[in-house]
Symmetry: C2
């Protein structure tokens, strides 16, 4: 069986995904990250959910703990996300080290589950009177959604189906109560929709798909008692086909969109895909941070207006980036209007920047909010601390990172009837699915540190199958070349952004990407970074951090001198050249007042990958560097 | 008796205020605004507080209403602010039209007040068990503060002291419970401190000053159970002498500072004034919007970091500007380090821009939040709607505007031992206080529409008394001239920003200010408006509004062409010249990508006073205009 998070079963999918066993990341930053995830992040998460009372919340329902309920009403979801993370790790490596823990926690869930199938520790243990009566707030379906995703992952990982049995019971209860033609109800936090579709895919049970599709149809009908947060916060302000703009709570919008796209993938209603195309354009062409983050506003953890993308107040929740990876991958599978290369490049931007920045070098400290600028006097706020922290009261992000890192292999490649597609350029071994042959495709590369990507094929490949390698938009002229017994070949990217050559046993392919550092600017309506440029190299966004500056030089006084270029050292570190502004000091002054950079010596400043900031000291940082004096 | 909001009684005050009867605004925008306030805003407020249940909240405590409690726990404060607004209107004009209403509502308060002196409709009527036990949340002292301010204003207005009797009873209760040496308690929302000092000034009762000073000392000791909002939100993170930066909830910080400055004015502790000097610098030199607004963050309605001043997400609460007028005026009276001219020019900026923008042309619709930019797709949020609205559930701002407009005369002038100071340049008649002579000083001007300010003196003036007229920093070379029987004179501003000439009966003075429109830029650390300039003329900040643009031209695509200057029409309207950006369309692109303004025809665009925006249609608006292409 294929172990991947999204396995469309209908013919509406354009691409067929590969699983984490078929795509084995062997080397480079993604593989290293998976190792760190397994050795540090997952054990840390397991420890933290015990320490923060997440398991006691369940135990107390059945008298196995005398502790008070702790955390948020959706705290159970943290457990399910950790289980899911462990499941993908099992799927990826076959490890058995988590089995005893799984026995323990799944056994606990089984004991807490009511005969009806219901299990939700906050409702059962604190507010039983609220069962299914405050769907806008209680997150009951959201929690079930994560339970389902964990259960499906575990069964796909190694056929362990005990959690799946429990999840199906709960899902069956939901269907009996809220299925088509019964009581109308949707969750205040989307997530159940994508989970139910996956449960349908995994079990073949049509009721789950019908329930998901029904919930998608019910959204935007005003079913939720939205209160002061307003309907947009919950994406309940308009039916999904009419809601063209990404608005409200960013994670909610993006999980919802994953679910809607999943429903499209199974049912093929083109009006849903059209709505998702519009949503994708809104979220990515007008509301996405350069780092691949979403949600400009602390207030309501929400999307801002078009082009409202402040660096310093970027809320940019880690979970929003993760939700977008889920959704954007499904758009790729669905053949959405933006095109596979754009979807894949977006996922690449997210993985290497916003997602990577959310975790420290040790794998046990996390950002919830991922701003693109930190002021020197920045003070920590809840969910937006000055530096990464081991856990959060609202702990959605850390285990979400864990499950996403463990499943990264699933976003690397896909197949169509006559091609193997390489979407992410990462060192990997890929087993060709049986319909294309019986071969291992090896990708060797130090990307993104190095621009050379090599691919070799070992085994039988069906005639007519091609290798389609994504050529990033920042290196459009890169050529894919091949050498094989039958001769050599070369191809540049087609209009869709993929370079194609026949996939042949024994052939060796090379793609050489231009990693010359680039200066990037934002659309003129992005006021927050007007007069600034950002340094990018390959898919990696860079930043300047106080820790690299001499005493007395402040990050916020730097002015980039773009005409002096960007130096690349042998080890790949980048150096930019800056002047310093030191007057005027007044907050407002006449336009003609002089600005003192002219006398400033040029200062060499390290531009480090954004993902690595804050690993030395929690000082000032900025991605966008002023060029305007 | 002098009817002014702050009447220092000790010798620590450098300036002596004049009251609203001594300074009568006779013409021009401030006088017109006071008329509108009296005829429209105050009746509207009286109607709204009835409609929104504010009076029923009190009636229900004593069985005079069967309604549910409505609004916030501090809803009583809305009533007291409306009473205070009415009081200043009575003080200003002697009107009797509100007397019956005052009889009614003060009688109601008297009936609700407990024998102990306690009166707070939410505690009494909803949560009596919380009396004085959750000071961080209940706003009991805050409500009392507004009761005191209203009571003092009413007694100063026409000697009506019935509310004063009630307020003193409550204040005495507070002193018995929380006075020095007794239970320690401070309010979660500062306001009581400045009110108690004024009650001391008005009654001579030292206990009120001692209680205020005690509460100032207790702040920053961790008395408040701050919860998730954190101590900074409540300014309880550090003692007032150590808290040099304006942080947390902006209105709280600024009301607190008014109270601390009041305590300094009565007790003369120089360490308090030094702390206020540092606070004033923080709030005004690093955290003030060009419009004279405060509080960059929607989250927690809070001050941001230094230079964090986003235009589009400016929270910029109306009440914060009002609180700052209160505080800054007290800093002027105290002779704070920034100097009288800077304080007065700040108040001028606030009155003519942030405060004036908070109300519509009809006087009955209000902004709570006053951003400096509105995007075309901006969606209304609670307390931050797209357009002015008649009232708010949290209705702190509208009555606060009412009381501030009615008391504007009190901020126009002051005296010292040998001078009459004109801080605000507004058409007015000013009665010289007895220690300087017995004369009327008439100020005639159409300022800020016109730069000519004329002053004439009618009556006896003591020998040696001088007229000190503030010369705005944007017209530093303006000369104050005089013609009198004894000869003429001329003076430019001294180093402190005031031009001085002898004040002589029969003399006529003229100050001619340069109202050439100016282009202003912000400090280079204000990322939000980098590469932008703002148009100012005199004290008036201008903006560009969608309603003035031709179809198909969007505010956010304008690029100012500063080299083409600013046209001033005979009626004072300003026109700027802009190009249009129409590409690239992508959110992020290479720095070298072309920007299409070159072919754009120059477009004439009206720059209207910021205070008047949103009176036609709730479209896009911006104060800061890009010049960077």
């Amino acid at each position: 069986d294929v172990a991947a998070p999204a396995l469309p079963s209908a013919a509406h999918a354009v691409h067929t995904p590969l699983g984490v066993r078929e795509v084995r990341l062997t080397d480079g930053p993604l593989a290293s990250w998976q190792s760190l995830n397994a050795s540090a992040t997952l054990p840390h998460c397991i420890e933290q959910i015990e320490e923060w009372g997440i398991l006691d919340n369940l135990r107390r329902v059945i008298g196995e703990s005398g502790a008070e309920f702790r955390g948020f009403w959706f705290a159970d979801s943290d457990l399910y996300k950790v289980i899911e993370a462990v499941a993908w790790e099992i799927a990826r490596t076959g490890t058995t080290e988590f089995d005893a823990w799984l026995d323990d926690v799944i056994g606990l869930v089984a004991r807490v589950q009511e005969p009806s199938g219901y299990v939700h520790s906050w409702i059962q243990g604190v507010h039983p009177e609220l069962k299914f009566v405050q769907l806008e707030l209680t997150h009951e379906m959201y929690v079930l959604g994560h339970m389902i995703q964990a259960a499906v992952a575990l069964d796909r990982a190694n056929g362990r189906d005990d959690l799946l049995v429990l999840a199906r019971r709960f899902a069956d209860l939901l269907d009996r109560r809220f299925g088509p033609g019964r009581e109308q109800g949707i969750c205040g936090h989307p997530e159940i929709e994508t989970a139910l579709v996956e449960l349908y895919r995994h079990t073949g049970e049509e009721r789950y798909l019908a329930l998901a599709a029904h919930m998608v149809e019910l959204r935007g009908q005003g079913l939720l008692k939205v209160g002061g947060l307003g309907a947009r916060y919950f994406q309940d302000h308009a039916p999904v086909r009419e809601a063209r703009d990404a608005v409200g709570h960013a994670v909610r919008q993006l999980y919802l969109n994953a679910g809607v796209t999943d429903v499209y993938l199974e049912q093929g209603d083109a009006t849903l895909l059209a709505a998702m195309d519009a949503q994708w354009s809104s979220a990515h062409e007008r509301k996405m941070y350069l780092s691949g983050a979403f949600g400009s506003r602390h207030r309501d953890e929400a999307f801002g207006d078009d082009y409202e993308l402040p660096s310093e107040r970027a809320y940019a929740e880690t979970c929003a980036t993760i939700a977008d990876i889920h959704w954007t991958w499904r758009m790729l599978l669905a053949g959405g209007a933006a095109g596979a290369a754009t979807y894949a490049e977006t996922i690449e931007r997210e993985i290497h920047n916003a997602l990577a920045a959310s975790i420290d070098g040790g794998g046990t400290r996390f950002f919830y909010s991922n701003p693109l600028q930190q002021r020197p006097d920045r003070y920590s706020e809840e969910n937006a601390p000055r530096e990464r922290t081991p856990w959060y009261v609202c702990a959605c992000c850390p285990p979400n990172i864990g499950r996403t890192v463990a499943q990264l292999g699933a976003y690397v490649a896909s197949t169509t009837a006559d091609a193997l597609w390489l979407h992410q350029l990462a060192a990997a071994e890929i087993d060709l699915p049986a319909d294309l042959g019986e071969a291992v495709v090896r990708v060797t590369t130090a990307y993104p540190a190095d621009g050379r990507v090599e691919v070799s094929v070992h085994g039988h490949v069906r005639d007519g199958v091609r290798l389609a390698v994504r050529v990033p938009s920042w290196s459009p002229d890169a050529e894919l070349t091949s050498r094989a017994d039958g001769g050599s070949g070369a191809a540049r990217a087609d209009a869709d952004g993929y370079a194609r050559l026949p996939l042949v046993d024994g052939a060796r392919y090379t793609l050489s990407l231009d990693l010359t550092p680039r200066l990037t600017r934002a659309h003129h309506r992005v006021d927050a970074v007007r007069g600034c440029l950002a340094v990018e190299r390959g898919p990696v966004v860079h930043c300047v951090e106080q820790a690299d500056l001499p005493d007395g030089v402040a990050v916020d006084d730097l002015v980039l001198l773009p005409e002096q270029g960007i130096d690349v050292a042998d080890d790949g570190t980048l150096t930019v050249h800056c002047a310093l502004v030191d007057r005027p000091d007044t907050l407002y002054s006449g336009a003609a007042a002089p600005v003192a950079t002219e006398g400033s010596p040029s200062l060499d400043v390290a531009a480090i990958p954004f993902a690595t900031w804050g690993n030395r000291s929690p000082g000032a940082m900025r991605v966008w560097l002023p060029v305007d004096r």
